[in-house]
Symmetry: C2
C-alpha cells in the first residue's frame, strides 16, 4: 500500500489489509490532526485499506475519525466527518451547513458585517482563507479577495495560481498586491536584510497592506481566515507572557478607528479540522504546503501544546478561546490606546512620525527616512519594544505597535 | 551497565562506554527532567559511564546537565547543577545557598512569615515539602511538621516513616493526623464510595486538616511545598478554563480570614528541578514514588505541556507564573468572597451550613447530616459547581468553594 504524506511531501510503502487506525498508529499520527483520503473519498478510522490502495494523509484536518457506522447528528445518514469536541458527526451536506451556521453565528454575535458592506477577504491560498471567502460568497456577502504576493519562490507562485483560479471559478473580484512590484522588496530579502525576523516583517507587511488596500478600494472591512486553533495558540502565547495589551486586542472584531478599517475573523468558532474538511468537501483546491520559511515558528509550538491537551480533553481549545471571550476579556479591556496620526511618508495611521512598515521598508532598501525631529523618540517608546518582542508570535494578529 | 529507572521502578541493561547524554538519548529522556546518580554522586550530561557501572535515573530533577567543565557562577569551582532558566550553574555549596536565598526572597516579597511566628509545614514525605521544612529550620523559623496519613497502602507507610525519621534527625516537632483513625475513612475508600474523584476528596481532606490542625495547635501559618512547576501547571489549568476566581486566589500568600489560618508557599520561585536537587544534595531521604492513585491526573498533563514548552524556551514557566503575579494578578483581584460561617457540624469555616469535608465524610460513611434548611441550596450554589469542576486540577491549591 502506498501512503502519501505531506509537509514535507513523501511516500512510504506500508502493509495493507488493516484498518486506518492501525496505519496511523504505525506512523504515530494523531487521527484528529489528519484527513485520510483515497481517490476523492474520506476514510474513517475504522475503514480497511488493501495492499493495492494509494492513500493520502493530509495534515490539519479530521474528517471521519470514528467507527464506521456513525450517523449524522442532524439527518441520521452515514456520517463522514466527526467532531469530537462537539461529540457529534455529520454527513457531507449537514457538515457544510454546520460550517456556514458557525460563520453566521460568529458574524451575528459581533455584528461583524452588514448585508451592504463591501468586504475584502485576505486570501493566502491556504484552506482557511479560501474556505472563508467561499462561505461569505455563499452567504451572499459582497466579498472580494485580496492576494498579497510575498515573493517566496515556488510557494508564492503556487498560492497565486490557486487564488486566481478560485476567483475565476466563482467570478469574484480579486485585488492583487505584490510586495516586490509595489514596495520594492520581497519577504526572503526582508528576512535577510532587515533587523526583524522573517515572520515579523511578513506579519507587519500583511497588516499594512490589508489595511491600505481596503481603504484605497473603499471596502468597509477586512476579513481574515484566523480559525479557533490560530486564536487559541496565539492566546496561549500571549497569556504565557501575560502581554495584557495583546490579550485585550485579541478579539474577533476590531472596530474601525481613525485610518484603520474594521477587521473581522468570522472563522473564530471553527477549528482547523473543520475549515480543512470544509475546503476539501467543497472541492476547493488549496495549498497544503506550509510556508517554507516558517520552520521552528513559536506559534507552531503553541499549536502543538494545544493539540496535545485537546487530544486527551476534546474541547480544550474552544473552552480556552471562547471562554476568554465570554468571561475574561472584560478584565483586560481597559487598555489605553495611543492616538493615531498619519505616517509622514505614506499617510497610513501610526503613533509615531513614520509607521513601522515605512521604517522596515527603508531599512531593507537601504534608504533613509527624513531626519527625526525627536531624536531617539522612535527607539524608546515602550509600546514599540513590546511590539518587537512578540511580533514573531503574532504574525497577523494585531496591528503593530505603531499602527494601533 | 545497569540502569535503574523510577516510577515505576525497573532496571534495564544497556551498553556502557559512552556519555550520559547518549544513554538518555537512547531512553528518550529529557535531560532537564532527571537526576543521574552513580553511588552518591551526581553525573553530568558529558560524564562517561562504563559497562560495570550501576546508575540511577531519578525523575523530576536536573542536577548536572551541562558540559563537564562548567563553572559555578558564584565561586568558579566546578559546577554540579545547571539551571538553564537562569543560564547559570552552581557548585554544591553555592547551589544550596541559591535555594535558601530564593526562599528568603519569597518570604520577604510577600511578608509571609515573621521570626516569632509558629509555622506548620504540611509534609507529605516528598522532595518539596521536606526540602521546605529543611530550609525553614535552617533559616531558624519555628517550624513544625504536619503529616496526614491518607491510608494509601505501602505508599503511605513509607511516607510516614520518611517524615518521622526526618523529624527525629532534626529534633523537630511533628503533628500527625490519620484520616482513618481520626475521621473514619481512608482515601482509597473515599475514592470508591464518595461522589468525588479520589484526587478531589484527597485535596479537600488536606485543605481541611491542614487548617484545622493549625488552628487547634495555635500555629500562625500553614506552609506548603508548592513549587514553581506546580504553580505554573495549576495556573495553566485555571487559565485554559478562565476560572477567574481560582486564578485570583492562586497567590503565594493567602492572608488569615475568619477561621482560616494564613497559608504560604515559600517555594514558589523554585522549580521542581531545584527542590529535588536540593533534597538530594542535603541527603534528605524522600519518597521518589508518585502516589499510586494519581495516574492520568490532569495536573500531570499540564506539567507535561509546560515541560515541552520549557525545553525549547527555558524560562517559560517562570515567565508565566511570576509574570502573572507581577502583571496580571491585579486584573483578577476584585472577586467577591462569600462570607464565612462555622460549619454546624465541625465548626470549621464554610459558606453553607455544613462544610465540604463534613458532607464528603458523611457521604463516605453512609451517615446523614441534619436535614437541610434550604432544600437544594447546597447543590445549586454556583461556586460549589465551579469547585467540583476543578478540584481534580487543584488538589491542594485553594480552599474549596465551601471553605474560602
Amino acid at each position: 500500500m502506498k501512503v502519501r504524506l505531506r509537509n514535507p511531501d513523501r511516500e512510504v510503502e506500508l502493509a495493507g489489509g488493516r484498518r486506518i487506525h492501525d496505519v496511523l498508529g504505525e506512523l504515530r499520527i494523531d487521527p484528529d490532526t489528519v484527513l485520510v483520503i483515497r481517490e476523492r473519498e474520506l476514510l474513517t478510522r475504522e475503514d480497511r485499506v488493501g495492499d493495492a490502495d494509494v492513500i493520502e494523509i493530509r495534515p490539519v484536518i479530521s474528517g471521519g475519525a470514528r467507527p464506521i457506522r456513525m450517523k449524522c447528528r442532524r439527518c441520521k445518514a452515514p456520517a463522514i466527518v466527526e467532531l469530537r469536541r462537539h461529540n457529534a458527526a455529520f454527513c457531507r451536506g449537514c457538515f457544510l451547513r454546520h460550517v456556514r451556521e458557525q460563520v453566521k453565528r460568529a458574524i451575528e454575535a459581533y455584528d461583524m458585517l452588514g448585508p451592504a458592506d463591501r468586504v475584502l477577504v485576505a486570501v493566502s491560498g491556504g484552506k482557511d482563507s479560501l474556505a472563508l471567502w467561499d462561505v461569505l460568497l455563499d452567504l451572499r456577502y459582497r466579498a472580494d479577495g485580496l492576494y498579497l504576493g510575498l515573493g517566496i519562490g515556488e510557494y508564492s507562485s503556487r498560492s497565486a495560481e490557486v487564488v486566481r483560479s478560485f476567483a475565476r471559478d466563482r467570478d469574484a473580484g480579486l485585488v492583487e498586491v505584490d510586495l516586490a512590484r509595489d514596495y520594492g522588496f520581497d519577504i526572503p530579502t526582508a528576512g535577510r536584510r532587515g533587523s526583524r525576523s522573517t515572520c515579523a516583517v511578513c506579519g507587519l507587511s500583511k497588516r499594512y497592506v490589508f489595511n491600505r488596500a481596503a481603504r484605497e478600494g473603499g471596502y468597509d472591512a477586512v476579513a481574515t481566515g484566523h480559525n479557533l486553533d490560530d486564536e487559541a495558540a496565539t492566546l496561549l502565547g500571549n497569556t504565557l507572557r501575560w502581554q495584557t495589551d495583546y490579550i485585550a486586542r485579541q478579539f474577533p472584531l476590531l472596530e474601525a478607528e481613525e485610518g484603520l478599517v474594521r477587521k473581522v475573523k468570522p472563522l473564530y468558532r471553527l477549528s482547523e479540522l473543520e475549515t480543512a474538511a470544509y475546503a476539501f468537501l467543497r472541492g476547493i483546491d488549496y495549498v497544503v504546503e506550509e510556508c517554507p520559511l516558517v520552520a521552528g515558528n513559536t506559534q507552531l509550538r503553541y499549536k502543538e501544546a494545544m493539540n496535545r491537551l485537546e487530544s486527551t480533553s476534546p474541547g480544550t481549545k474552544a473552552q480556552f478561546f471562547l471562554g476568554y471571550l465570554e468571561r475574561a476579556a472584560p478584565l483586560f479591556a481597559e487598555q489605553d490606546a495611543a492616538e493615531l496620526v498619519p505616517c509622514e511618508r505614506c499617510g497610513q495611521p501610526t503613533t509615531g512620525r513614520f509607521c513601522a512598515f515605512c521604517r522596515a521598508q527603508a531599512q531593507i532598501l537601504g534608504e533613509r527616512l527624513e531626519e527625526r525631529a525627536g531624536g531617539e523618540e522612535l527607539e524608546t517608546r515602550p509600546d514599540e519594544v513590546a511590539g518587537n518582542l512578540s511580533e514573531e508570535v503574532l504574525p497577523v494578529e494585531i496591528y503593530g505597535a505603531t499602527i494601533r
